[in-house]
Subunit: 429 residues, 2 copies
């Protein structure tokens, strides 16, 4: 009993007007294959003659620190295949296509570790500020925990997220976790770094700060002082509890909107200087090679980007045709997402998606749009625009700017091809 006449289209390819879709109510039923109860006898719905065992027996007690259900054990981080087993460098991807909302649970937050994860005793850990300051300072955990704290929800993304789409000449048959697993969202709480820098007394000639972690190998980056005096946080908490070891316990730098590796974990030293240090990771891995051959260093901000997470790579649509909610994530290191457009006909027509829930600066933003799939092969695209008018480029546009082997800061439009059997595949358009 499809009452689809009242549902207005939003673009071709089956994209629907959200308001008329939600108001249609009864139309969802048949489409979603619901099983009608035979309710001919009074009270039949009330008494379930086939009660499952857990509704007839007492349950177990809770525990001191809870974990997900045994039935969800397949939802886990995966280690990127291109990480050599003998190295301490590792990349763990979050299953972003299994997330809803804008918060990633701490156990599933992505992590990239240059020198392995150190096990730090917080009682022995210190944070030093020195260099071009009036008074060099050293903080222990106890003193830091007394400072004023702020909290904010922000995304973190590795500069190399979605690298396969940047460098592979053919679209690899990978899923959302493999391609987009180096992005997560969390509520971070800690001390605005400007309070600590002001206290040390920055000298007028200071322009940069060399930020160093306490991991073996001392991952370090040079950061412009201006960013550190703006929205930088010495993060001590993530989603309401102290940082996990792989997120920098007992403290990390948080630079909202900037590439992951500048958010130095296991933060231990801030040296105020007048020039960058050209550390290993800013001269090597995290510099971008342009098409002109020029090398671009200090390209800190993660640009506007989006991906449809439902449906996405390697998933199969359960019905051959019918109604679905397309849902995805958009973000920009420059500020808020202004809008996300979705195409269900490979880019010929576009419809504005609904921004669902909180739309916050430098945060994951959820978008949704209803879609009626007619069962024929098609391609879904999403294109985000931020509040500064920055728009995601196509893959070709992005690749014209960079060298063919450059992979950091890829933010091209993602295409998911829907085969007529319902299988979803990564696709270049």
């Amino acid at each position: 009993m499809l009452k689809t006449k009242t549902i207005k289209p939003a673009a071709s390819g089956g994209l629907l007007d959200r308001r008329s879709f939600l108001l249609s109510g009864i139309a969802l039923s048949s489409a979603y294959s619901l099983k009608a109860l035979s309710a001919s006898k009074a009270g039949e719905g009330r008494i379930d003659t086939d009660m499952p065992v857990w509704a007839k027996t007492p349950g177990h007690n809770d525990v001191e620190y809870g974990l997900p259900s045994e039935h969800e054990k397949h939802i886990k981080r995966i280690q990127a295949k291109n990480t050599p087993e003998t190295s301490t460098f590792s990349m763990w991807h979050t299953p972003i296509e299994n997330q809803r909302g804008i918060i990633t649970p701490n156990g599933l937050h992505f992590s990239v570790n240059h020198n392995g994860i150190p096990e730090i005793d917080p009682q022995q850990h210190t944070l030093r500020i020195h260099g071009l300051v009036g008074r060099p300072l050293k903080f222990d955990m106890e003193s830091l925990l007394r400072y004023p704290m702020v909290s904010a929800i922000h995304f973190l993304e590795c500069a190399g997220n979605t690298a396969p789409n940047a460098v592979s000449l053919t679209a690899l048959d990978q899923d959302c976790q493999e391609l987009y697993g180096q992005i997560s969202g969390a509520e971070w709480s800690g001390i605005p770094l400007k309070y600590l820098l002001k206290e040390a007394g920055i000298k007028p000639e200071a322009k940069w700060v060399i930020v160093e972690g306490a991991d073996g190998g001392s991952h370090a980056r040079s950061i412009p002082l201006e960013k550190l005096m703006d929205d930088a946080i010495v993060a001590l908490y993530q989603n309401g509890e102290r940082l996990r070891p792989s997120q920098g316990y007992p403290m990390r730098l948080l630079l909202p909107g900037w590439e992951g590796n500048t958010n130095v974990k296991w933060l231990t030293r801030l040296e105020v200087t007048d020039t960058p240090a050209y550390t290993k990771d800013e001269s090597g891995l995290y510099s971008d090679i342009l098409d002109s051959g020029e090398i671009q260093r200090f390209s800190f901000t993660m640009d506007v980007k989006s991906v449809i997470t439902h449906p996405s790579g390697k998933q199969t649509l359960p019905d051959k045709k019918g109604f679905y909610e397309i849902s995805g994530l958009a973000w920009s290191g420059h500020g808020k997402i202004k809008h996300v457009e979705v195409s269900a006909d490979e880019g010929k027509t576009w419809a504005k998606a609904h921004l669902e829930g909180l739309v916050l600066s430098k945060s994951l933003t959820r978008f949704t749009i209803p879609w009626r799939w007619d069962g024929s092969a098609t391609t879904l695209l999403s294109r985000a625009t931020d509040e500064h008018g920055r728009v995601q480029p196509t893959r070709d546009q992005w690749r014209k700017k960079y060298a063919s082997y450059s992979f950091n800061h890829y933010n091209g439009i993602q295409a998911w091809h829907i085969n007529s059997d319902g299988r979803v595949e990564n696709r270049y358009v």
Copy 2:
């Protein structure tokens, strides 16, 4: 070197004007016992001659599902002492005084379980809607996962949270977790229940819905249809991952702002009726006895409430006197928090605290205010007001309304007494 002259007071007892406190910068240093480095030699700050072992050795690899640091193992839920060991009824309290921000991590979210925690196979679990509907419906997980979803950050609070302060004639020497541990905050994602009810077709005479869980004992509550057609969600996700078993896996009802037990976990049945069912839990445990002897049923909404979490019960201020940031949580089941006032002189003078970060409807809201403790015994209070002008009552005002043995919906002003040795104690004022 205290430059405190520029810091303006906000009220007596040492409460400070936030803006002038944050701008004072250098004044924090001495007060926070920072250790100045001897920086007489150039570069001395750069090379740490006493490098810890973790900065000189490679770290370990990450894991599929992360956990907190070994050093944070003491941050855990505790089972309330008044739960009989032989019962399947259990109450687990969140360590709210160790949380920052407004999100509680899933592993530490409070849980109250009337019949133990069932281990439900999501493949066998169904949700039924029947009674006064045009078409009885039965949903399995697969069909539900295709519905449009929304996400929102909300608090959940047990009706009996802070019961000891309601019924104990003397203020018990308990900490924040013991007294306030039945409140948590999370981002919930799921399907607006109104979509499912509309699809079933509500009959005009319908007014109530009996909501039932699949736990052994079938916890059930009667909920006004109006609330279910408003902001009720069939929650499938919590902080970005599927619900934990103790939070209702694979699905629970979420009724923003309403007492915890109405947010029925392991949701399996919705019977649409014209009258409430007067189930065990709405005739017994979760009815309120008024001072007049009258029994108040269906008192669903959690009222405006607040608590200072830093400093709070059983903590000890590390310095005999000095600067501290007072930080706490406020919430109202009726809407947004409008403001929170703090007193550092047992209620004689009050100052408005800063609302830090997101101020969302029916959500935990963080408040902060700087405080200079002069080292003498004093009492800290917080008093929240919501957007509807509802103000927290004093303990005496609350108790005048209810019978002496009534303990649900207690929202009296919390007083923390600071002893001259820095120890913080629960106190009635």
